[in-house]
């Protein structure tokens, strides 16, 4: 039984540590903020120039000057600071953000990541994704294991890269996979999902950890 989007987000939240500064991408990664454990202090960075991002505003409290990198209205917290885009990416590029959780189209066993363009289709741009995967200390990809029958965990990405050798971990609806020098290793799998199913849906060479956990 594959994990739901909420369960995937909850699993990703287990990568958080007290005191972490974290950048969450658009989509499922945004949900991770709902699963920060009580008592743990995590500051969310929004690459358009904010640290200490709060939740969506109550209706009527929206402020056009206060948006996140997805252009959504948000709120501030007592810890919040604002800064320019140059300072924001100095923070990202300089390795000051502990964790980036973002979506992907493809991840390769060598850690390559593709999530910004499909040749022949209208390209919208990479936004801050290339900077994030190049600069952040730990990069976790949160995505469906397959998309419309297409495998996404590959030997080599076929789409243009967002970053080369940048992914540390992939969390899908089927399991959790670390990416290291020796390729991908499944360390957890979702309930009732079989190794065979995962292997069939994965092109990347995949090892199952000795201490593999099935929830």
């Amino acid at each position: 039984m594959a994990w739901t989007r909420e369960e995937m987000a909850a699993r990703a939240a287990k990568e958080l540590r007290d005191g972490y500064y974290v950048n969450l991408g658009i989509g499922i990664p945004t949900l991770v903020s709902n699963y920060i454990p009580d008592g743990m202090t995590v500051q969310l960075q929004s690459e358009n120039g904010m640290l200490g991002m709060g939740p969506f505003p109550f209706e009527g409290d929206e402020d056009p000057d206060l948006i996140n990198a997805g252009k959504q209205t948000i709120t501030e917290l007592p810890t919040t600071s604002y800064f320019s885009s140059a300072d924001s990416f100095a923070m990202i590029r300089g390795g000051h953000i502990d964790l980036s959780i973002l979506g992907a189209m493809q991840v390769a066993e060598n850690g390559d990541l593709a999530n910004w363009m499909i040749p022949g289709k209208m390209v919208k741009g990479m936004g801050g994704a290339m900077d994030l995967v190049a600069g952040v200390k730990k990069v976790v990809v949160l995505m469906e294991h397959v998309a419309k029958e297409e495998k996404k965990l590959l030997k080599r990405c076929t789409l243009p890269l967002t970053g080369a050798g940048v992914v540390n971990m992939v969390i899908t609806d089927l399991g959790v996979f670390t990416v290291g020098k020796d390729g991908m290793t499944a360390i957890e799998i979702a309930p009732h999902v079989t190794r065979e199913e995962i292997s069939a849906k994965t092109e990347a060479s995949l090892r199952f950890a000795d201490n593999l956990v099935q929830h």
Binding site: S46, E47, N48, G49, M50, P55, F56, P57, F58, E59, D61, E62, D63, P64, D65, L66, I67, N68, A69, G70, K71, Q72, T73, I74, E76, Y82, F83, S84, S85, A86, S88, F89, A90, I92, R93, D112, M122, V123, K124, G125, M126, G127, G128, A129, M130, D131, A134, G135, P160, L161, T162, G163, A164, G165
Partner: protein, 233 residues
């Protein structure tokens, strides 16, 4: 030297010419120099190269200059919200140079800071690095990116004084401070125009040296692109 102008059109008088490079601040529709963009549209100047993180949306921001086909080329990081953009691009009428957002921000800062080039890890091993110099530092590969300057920078700020000192509000700061430093001429629209000495000098983000002309954007209507709310408990 009086820096204060009565409106956007007079503040841009003498500064606009075809084929020029213009930087426009803002992220999405947040912190965009909306009045100055409208005045650029109304001037009819064309073949513009625009450096801006996004391309506005249809009917708002830089979307206005796309509708009138005044833009030849965009240098941006993300242009996803604009249908006019997509049409013109697919018809081959519009050039686009994509930059990673942090590289774009740093290139603008470098331009304003007299730094012709710098090295970054961003984009190494991707299309972005093609044709660019690469170099190793401490065993890691970096790509060289160059500084960006513009003939004109148009920026939006929350408050400005008559010397051109600017402060920004919340995430409307974004690209505005760097662009103010990288325009040969910088024109600012401010929501509150105040006397010198009113803003605490420790709070000033853009010193007046970077701002040549300033207008008061009174009663500005600021748009929200993605209105997201939560329910009251």
């Amino acid at each position: 030297m009086a820096k204060v102008y009565s409106d956007a059109t007079s503040a841009l008088a003498g500064l606009l010419k075809d084929d020029m490079v213009i930087m426009a601040g803002g992220f999405g529709l947040c912190g965009i120099p909306s009045l100055l963009i409208k005045a650029i549209r109304d001037s009819g100047v064309k073949n513009l190269t625009i450096i801006s993180n996004n391309a506005g949306i249809d009917g708002e921001g830089l979307g206005l200059l796309l509708e009138t086909r005044q833009v030849k080329k965009m240098i941006s990081s993300y242009v996803g919200e604009n249908k006019t953009f997509a049409q013109q691009y697919l018809a081959g009428e519009l050039e686009i140079e994509f930059n990673p957002q942090g590289t774009l921000a740093e290139r603008i800062r470098a331009g304003g800071a007299g730094i012709p080039a710098f090295y970054t890890k961003t984009g190494v091993g991707t299309l972005i690095a093609q044709g660019k110099d690469e170099r190793e530092f401490n065993g890691e590969k970096y790509v060289m990116e160059t500084g960006l300057l513009a003939d004109l920078a148009v920026v939006h700020a929350w408050k400005g004084d008559t010397e051109g000192n600017l402060v920004y509000r919340k995430s409307a700061r974004n690209f505005n401070p760097m662009m103010a430093t990288a325009g040969k001429v910088t024109v600012a629209q401010v929501e509150h125009l105040v006397e010198c000495g009113t803003i605490d000098p420790d709070h000033i983000i853009t010193p007046g040296i970077f701002v040549q002309r300033i207008i008061h954007a009174a009663g500005l209507e600021k748009k929200i692109e993605q209105r997201t709310v939560r329910q009251r408990a």
